[in-house]
């Protein structure tokens, strides 16, 4: 597929809009269907498409695996961090009300951050999974 210029160029063109769409789903999740998971998967699928067309090594060059690992943990840390901050501010775990000036704005901030955490983790896990599977070589380890 590497030698197919049509596919390569169309992938390059589609790459940015897909990620844009992912971000839209991520941040529009409060108003329409969507949210962290879906956005994460869409963003991940952009990278997966890239890796499919240009090869896994190129994909890893685009998105190095150590950054992938850090972001993978970071998503969870953001999520947990929101909970811990709310705990430190004197409320229960994941009680977003204290995060903002009013309960509603607190909830908004909380949900935004939390969804961001979910999105980060999901997208990075999906990319990591794909990379791990696709670059697994079948030679018997001896």
């Amino acid at each position: 597929m590497h030698n197919n210029p049509i596919l390569r160029i169309s992938t390059k063109i589609l790459f940015a809009p897909i990620i844009l769409f992912g971000l839209y789903v991520q941040f529009h999740g409060d108003f329409g269907p969507g949210g962290g998971f879906q956005a994460g998967v869409i963003v991940a699928s952009a990278f997966i498409l890239y890796s499919l067309v240009f090869g896994i090594e190129a994909g890893k060059k685009l998105f190095p695996s150590n950054i992938n690992l850090i972001l993978l943990a970071l998503g969870g840390i953001i999520y947990g961090g929101v909970g811990i901050v709310s705990m430190l501010l004197g409320d229960e775990f994941l009680a977003y009300n204290v995060l903002g000036s009013s309960p509603q704005s607190g909830q908004h901030i909380g949900i935004l951050l939390v969804e961001l955490g979910v999105g980060l983790t999901v997208s990075n896990v999906m990319i990591a999974l794909f990379n791990a599977f696709a670059s697994y070589d079948n030679i018997k380890e001896k």
């Binding site: 269907p33 997966i48 969870g76 994941l94 909380g110 983790t121 999901v122 999974l129 794909f130």
Partner: protein, 192 residues
């Protein structure tokens, strides 16, 4: 109402036929594609059942990502499924029994779509009301997901994280350069 029923019936028939085809087929690529199709049809079904977010997720996660994972894994696996020697009678029987129990109990389940069912009366109204008042987000699913049951979602993020770490740890590539350096290990052990 009839049209809803029709769409439902149509999709369900497709799902059943896919499932039966899955039992029949022994080719791995077919199995994978049929699974993907099953997820896709399930996503359509979710749409007709008013679960937009779920359909969204099922389409992207269930149909998209898992299919790609299946395909990626399939590349290294045998392409055909062998016929098993052992009888499939006992598993089939136990499945039929379980299914029978479920069908038996379904007579006491609330009818589909009935507004008076306890499930719609007990907690759900508070979410629908609260989402507007307490949280101020139109998408109730998001508000329940991220706030009311935010801890579930946290756990689920952790599940995804777990799976990621697990797969990374399992399928870690061994550095071919380091293969020869296994000798010092031996020494440590003797000292231990």
């Amino acid at each position: 109402m009839i049209s809803e029923l029709l769409i439902n019936a149509f999709l369900v028939t497709i799902m059943l036929s896919i499932a039966i085809a899955l039992i029949k087929t022994r080719t791995v690529i077919f199995t994978v594609i049929l699974t993907s199709a099953y997820s896709l049809v399930a996503a359509l079904m979710f749409i007709t059942l008013d679960a937009v977010d779920v359909a969204f997720t099922e389409a992207s996660v269930g149909a998209g990502i898992s299919t790609i994972l299946f395909l990626a894994a399939m590349a290294y696996l045998p392409k055909k499924e062998e016929e098993s020697i052992s009888s499939e009678f006992v598993p089939a029987l136990s499945c039929i029994i379980l299914g029978g129990i479920l069908i038996w109990c379904s007579y006491d389940l609330p009818e589909i779509g009935q507004f008076t069912a306890p499930i719609h009366q007990h907690i759900a109204p508070e979410y629908i009301k609260g989402s507007k008042e307490d949280i101020g987000i139109p998408n109730i699913v998001t508000s329940v997901l991220a706030s009311y049951r935010g801890y579930d979602t946290f756990g689920e993020t952790i599940v995804v994280f777990t799976a990621g770490v697990a797969v990374l740890a399992l399928l870690q590539k061994k550095d071919p350069a380091k293969k020869n350096k296994s000798q010092p290990k031996q020494k440590i052990r003797k000292n231990a």
